[in-house]
Symmetry: C2
Subunit: 231 residues, 2 copies
Amino acid sequence: MTEQSAAAPPPAAAELPTPPPEAVVDLLGVLAYGELTAFERLAADAGLAPTLSDKAALGGMAVAEFGQFLRLRERLRGLGVDPESAMQPFVSAVDAFHDSTAPSNWLEGLVKAYVGDGIATDFYREVAAFVDPDTRALVLDVLEDTGHASFAVAKVQAAIAADPPVQGRLALWARRLMGEALSQAYRVAGEHAALAMLIVGGIGDLTEVGRLMARLTDAHSRRLALLGLSA
Amino acid sequence: MTEQSAAAPPPAAAELPTPPPEAVVDLLGVLAYGELTAFERLAADAGLAPTLSDKAALGGMAVAEFGQFLRLRERLRGLGVDPESAMQPFVSAVDAFHDSTAPSNWLEGLVKAYVGDGIATDFYREVAAFVDPDTRALVLDVLEDTGHASFAVAKVQAAIAADPPVQGRLALWARRLMGEALSQAYRVAGEHAALAMLIVGGIGDLTEVGRLMARLTDAHSRRLALLGLSA
């Protein structure tokens, strides 16, 4: 994967990019690994699809995530950072999230694609406010909805209409997704001081961190309502 | 997935495309489903990758297969054929092949990507000779190497050099892949008379069918030699 950068002539010392702040590398690294695993998990969840059209639709979402991964990797390389080293510190937390939330059926997969993606997107959007404009522009662009929303919402609403007891099971599932996401986010914050300080420092004080959490929780509730999963 | 074709104004009777021969629909259908599942399985096998770069490399191959699937689906729609209906008859044979050849480790996944793809490509290339020029051009283009070859060959050669006993295990695995591919190909031929007749009719007589099988087997042996897997 590194042939391209290896083949390029080494820049003169004066041209070496200024090393980016650690928090920016962390942000791009965790996002890149998040996109790479989102690709892998969505592609796997396509195996749960009830029809070939649904399989192709989830496959298309997975492919879009891979495209975002490529852009983040290119940005890391452009900053003179080895993408693999930037992603590695986040592998165990991101994998732990996915391992503890492997969908056991198609609808759980759709709810995870929509709700999980939504939580992550809201969080990264907030964090992006505190980094340099170029990184911010890339992060916001990568976070643009890749089509999960309307497809998942329509399918889940239809499934609940057809079989109302589905609602309670999926509502529990969505709550578990939020719990596991928070638990891994706290772990990442604990292990990555630079990233944690970026957020707390960018926000200014811990009261504001509480407000951020409230905004994330509110947005999560709105997504559940849209799916028809509010209690 | 069918919104686009549904939204287009219905063509006047005179503009309705002539229904394509059943064998062409079968060929495009089995290829399209093959690409869709190749995407899904390669993406899943990326989970076996030992490094993040390897994971990204296999992910890139999976994404390329999905792109080929989209082209074949578009062609089926262009012929006035519902892609899902064209693919459905081949689901059980293609799935049976993959279920019986799920790689249990990274190297088995690479050998399958390279050897399995090679067998399929050779076969479809032979069949493409007997269809109309437009279909043939698309099929040959879709079958262009998507980058499996050099990546897989280099990795497998290196693994054998580092640990020679790997050779015998992977050679057995490659033989099993060929056996399962043939077994499902015979099943498809038995269930799809139009496709079988296209091949036999295109070739002219059964002696030539034997020669085709010999060509496929020879090409398979050459690939094994390149991997360092000849007995």
